[in-house]
């Protein structure tokens, strides 16, 4: 009987271990190829603790600002907590989670995602789910993650099935066994860093062609849900003594309409927040849309991102009372390594 009592837990433990290993194997790695942005959220935890500035937002932050430049030029240690199509409620919960790991002096939020009011308004369900996964799977388990999952699903999507598959991603990726790639085995247990403090480097150049024409939205007012989460961000930062800076990153599409800009300006003024639309300072920043974008104006390449960081670093220094930390020896050592990695990555990518 005693033997039986021992065998059962042992068998159960082996089964769970095998299932866990399978889950690790079957989850997408995002280490190579097109969708490296899926790896960004999980990379933060190895770099948390010493950042004075944390950017939060979508591709307009993780592709348009280089934290390495901010360090090199101004001694500002920073990190970008961004992922593809990161929605405002996801940004809010990432901010909330960040505050459990460190207390930066400034949080920078890119306001583009204000245009998506609810999970339903962000595109087809399959697309939403894929983007949600890229943001949520990388988060460590916490109340913030659970709330972010809840906020990210539409009412129709909310089900035991979906929620449980976030807790046990094996249930979501169980059929990936038929499309496993070499990287799934290479990075089964250990991942590389694909970003430089959350910045996903692009070195290609695709000049801006014709100006973008997009349909004006029927209703130019931001939705209730967006305002709700922006307000929560404001309150969260106030409660934690963190300065919230709102920005609109320099990217030409999706178009950032004047009516939207005005609403954010008014909100910032009302709440005593800084708001800067970098599109208004393109010339000052020195963006050349024939060389500084890798996808015809949608996002900046590394040359543009360095220019944007150079300009924005100065803005931060002037407006946020941020110290130059380059004299901090311990921090300098860490950042020296980061700079070297960044330069090497740039060199490799430039080929």
């Amino acid at each position: 009987m005693k033997k039986k009592l021992l065998i059962l837990p042992a068998v159960l433990a082996v089964c769970l271990a095998v299932l866990y290993l399978l889950q690790m194997l079957l989850m997408p790695k995002y280490m190579t190829g097109k969708h490296q942005e899926g790896a960004l959220i999980a990379e933060y935890y190895h770099n948390a603790g010493n950042n004075d500035v944390v950017f939060v937002g979508d591709c307009e932050v993780y592709e348009n600002f280089s934290p390495i430049t901010l360090w090199e030029e101004y001694g500002i240690p920073s990190y970008i907590r961004g992922s593809a199509q990161q929605l405002i409620w996801q940004s809010y919960y990432l901010m909330e989670e960040t505050l459990k790991y460190e207390k930066p002096k400034v949080m920078v939020f890119n306001v583009l995602s204000m245009k998506y009011d609810t999970p339903k308004s962000t595109g087809a369900q399959s697309q939403r789910e894929a983007y949600n996964r890229m943001t949520l799977d990388g988060m460590r388990w916490s109340v913030s993650k659970w709330n972010s999952i809840q906020a990210s699903m539409t009412e129709e999507e909310k089900s035991w099935q979906a929620e449980l598959s976030y807790i046990f991603p094996l249930l979501r990726y169980h059929d990936r066994w038929s499309s496993l790639e070499k990287q799934d085995f290479t990075y089964w247990f250990k991942k590389d860093q694909v970003s430089d403090n959350g910045y996903l480097m692009q070195t290609g150049v695709k000049p801006l062609g014709d100006a973008y024409h997009e349909m004006r939205p029927m209703d130019m007012n931001f939705g209730e849900n967006s305002w709700y989460y922006l307000e929560k961000m404001t309150q969260l930062c106030k409660e934690n003594g963190v300065q919230l800076v709102l920005i609109k990153a320099p990217a030409l599409s999706p178009i950032w309409w004047d009516e939207w800009d005005l609403q954010i300006e008014e909100y910032a003024a009302k709440n005593d927040l800084l708001y800067v639309n970098l599109l208004d300072y393109q010339e000052e920043i020195g963006i050349d849309w024939s060389t500084d974008t890798y996808d015809a104006g949608l996002h900046l390449n590394v040359y543009g991102a360095e220019k944007a960081a150079r300009w924005f670093g100065k803005y931060l220094q002037e407006n946020c009372d941020l110290p130059d930390r380059r004299n901090d020896t311990a921090l300098s050592d860490i950042w020296a390594e980061k700079v070297a990695t960044y330069n090497q990555r740039k060199e490799t990518k430039e080929g």
């Binding site: 039986k4 065998i7 068998v11 089964c15 095998v18 299932l19 399978l22 399959s126 789910e129 089900s159 035991w160 099935q161 449980l164 598959s165 094996l170 249930l171 979501r172 169980h174 059929d175 066994w177 038929s178």
Partner: protein, 520 residues
């Protein structure tokens, strides 16, 4: 809540834990609570229907029981005073009273079922919307056909005196709502199920383990086979000729894996709770004739129909009169005529039970037709086998009989999918008029919603189910065989778990189907 929803597994685990840690005498209360929680998850609005069936069943059987007890007391008291005729007359009067109560209960419940089923189809659905009946137009309450048939069987048993009425309303509520069998059966008899649910019992590790293994086997059949092949069944519905024939085979696989998978889950979970539900399938595709097929397929429904429809009709006064009259005029056929009439009624009811639409009625009549014709051809078969003695013992001939039965039942069963019966007959006609066997190799099979990998998985899974069925048919229980080989058992069970988890059709990208029999 579906058995295949992710939420069900944690729910089942909690119920198992709660059930076995509850003191023996109170375990049935845990089961009752679990059953109601399960049902509430399906939709609170459906709960009223189950409560109605429970209440009417309880009140009816209690009244019947009181009348029967009064009768017994009266007869006992007046044993010496009453003549035999007087006792008989008193009993007949009592029987009439209980019959009246039974009929009222049956009419109320089956009436509700008929209305609910009727309101699923036009023109009744349109007529009901906005009327006082609109509260019934919420779709068929989960498992209604199953719990209602089970409860009404109990009411009839009390009237017949073959079961004793349960006087505790909560215990009766458990009999009606026992959650593992709620979705698609099996339909159990009160005298078999109730004592197991209420009696205090000890934990039996072997039964518990066997139950979980069977639960897993059910998941395997449902998720790896039924839900994977469902896409191809949907596409093939538009085909004629060879494509239609292929549809009959694919649907046979889907329905078998779906229905037996669900039943395996129900029986397995119950077994882990120490409750043995009746078997509903005994490898029906190995049947050599239709009578055998129906002794192996959906057994509990067949038994129910036999007990509560077929027998009462065949021994009713009009049938006995018909039998007498027909025997003199039609000879041997006349002798069998009442049985055939009872069969037609039984199959009509069985068809309608599946759905209030012409195709299900046709399905019932086709089955009845084949049964009657087979019965009438018995002398011819005997003549044939007398001419070729020993043929029956030949394995090849046995294989032919099985294949013949499989194809025949496939052609009848497929009418399920064609609410327009003319469409069904057109497709049947296309088997001889449309010669398109080339779809088997011209790439059409790869456009049915199944990739080569899907075919590979399906092939492997079907081969496994076939091998297990063959072992069970020839040698007996696979689980018993594995019980004496623990290492092999652990490996195989874990391998089955892995295959189900990795190759099951569930989650994003799959439209996991409800169980087909939920809708009936």
């Amino acid at each position: 809540m579906q058995f295949t929803s992710f939420g069900f597994l944690p729910f089942a685990a909690l119920v198992l834990l709660a059930y076995w840690v509850t003191p023996k005498k109170a375990r049935w209360i845990t089961l009752l609570l679990a059953s109601y929680v399960f049902y509430i998850f399906a939709g609170v609005e459906y709960l009223w229907f189950m409560l109605f069936t429970t209440a009417t069943t309880y009140i009816t059987t209690l009244c019947m029981d009181n009348i029967l007890q009064k009768q017994d007391a009266f007869l006992k008291e007046n044993k010496a005073l009453l003549s035999r005729e007087e006792k008989k007359a008193y009993k007949a009067a009592t029987k009439n009273k209980t019959r009246l109560l039974m009929v009222v209960c049956l009419v109320l419940n089956f009436g509700m079922l008929a209305v609910c089923k009727g309101l699923l189809i036009d023109p009744f659905r349109t007529m009901a919307s906005g009327s006082f009946l609109s509260f019934l137009s919420i779709g068929l309450p989960l498992g209604m056909s199953f719990y209602l048939f089970q409860s009404m069987g109990y009411v009839v048993d009390i009237h017949r005196g073959t079961a004793k009425a349960e006087r505790n309303p909560f215990k009766l509520a458990l009999f009606v709502s026992f959650f593992p069998q709620l979705i698609q059966g099996p339909i159990s008899q009160f005298s078999v199920l109730a004592p197991q649910m209420y009696a205090p019992k000890d934990f039996d590790g072997k039964e518990f383990s066997f139950g979980l293994q069977r639960l897993l086997w059910g998941y395997f059949k449902k998720l790896v086979i039924a839900d994977r092949i469902a896409a191809a069944v949907g596409t093939l519905k538009g085909f004629e000729g060879t494509g239609f024939f292929l549809l009959t085979v694919f649907y046979a696989v889907q329905l078998y894996a779906d229905f037996t998978g669900g039943i395996d889950m129900a029986i397995g979970l119950s077994q882990s709770l120490g409750i043995k539900l009746p078997e509903n399938f005994i490898r029906p595709y190995f049947s050599k004739n239709i009578a055998e097929y129906w002794r192996r397929w959906h057994i509990t429904l067949g038994e129910w129909m036999k007990s509560y429809i077929f027998y009462p009709i065949s021994v009713s006064q009009p049938m006995l009169k018909l039998s007498k009259a027909a025997r003199t005029k039609l000879g041997n056929f006349g002798k069998r005529l009442p049985v055939y009439v009872a069969s037609i009624a039984t199959w009509a009811v069985t068809g309608i039970w599946h759905g209030l639409s012409p195709n299900f009625l046709l399905w019932g009549m086709l089955n009845c037709f084949v049964i009657v014709v087979s019965e009438e051809l018995v002398p011819l078969y005997e003549k044939f086998h007398n001419r070729f003695p020993g043929l029956k013992q030949k394995k090849l001939y046995g294989g032919f009989e099985i294949l013949r039965m499989f194809i025949l039942m496939n052609l009848i069963r497929i009418v399920d999918l064609f609410p327009n019966v003319l469409d069904y007959f057109k497709r049947m006609g296309s088997l001889v008029t449309t010669w398109n066997v080339n779809i088997l190799w011209d790439g059409t099979l790869l456009n049915l919603g199944l990739s080569p990998l899907d075919y590979g998985i399906l092939g492997g899974a079907i081969a496994l189910v076939f091998a297990v069925s063959l072992y069970q048919e020839k040698k007996g229980s696979v689980r018993e065989m594995l019980w004496t080989k623990p290492a092999l058992r652990y490996i195989l069970v874990f391998a089955l778990l892995l295959v189900t988890v990795l190759m099951g059709s569930y989650g994003i990208g799959y439209n996991a189907s409800n169980f087909i029999y939920n809708q009936f």
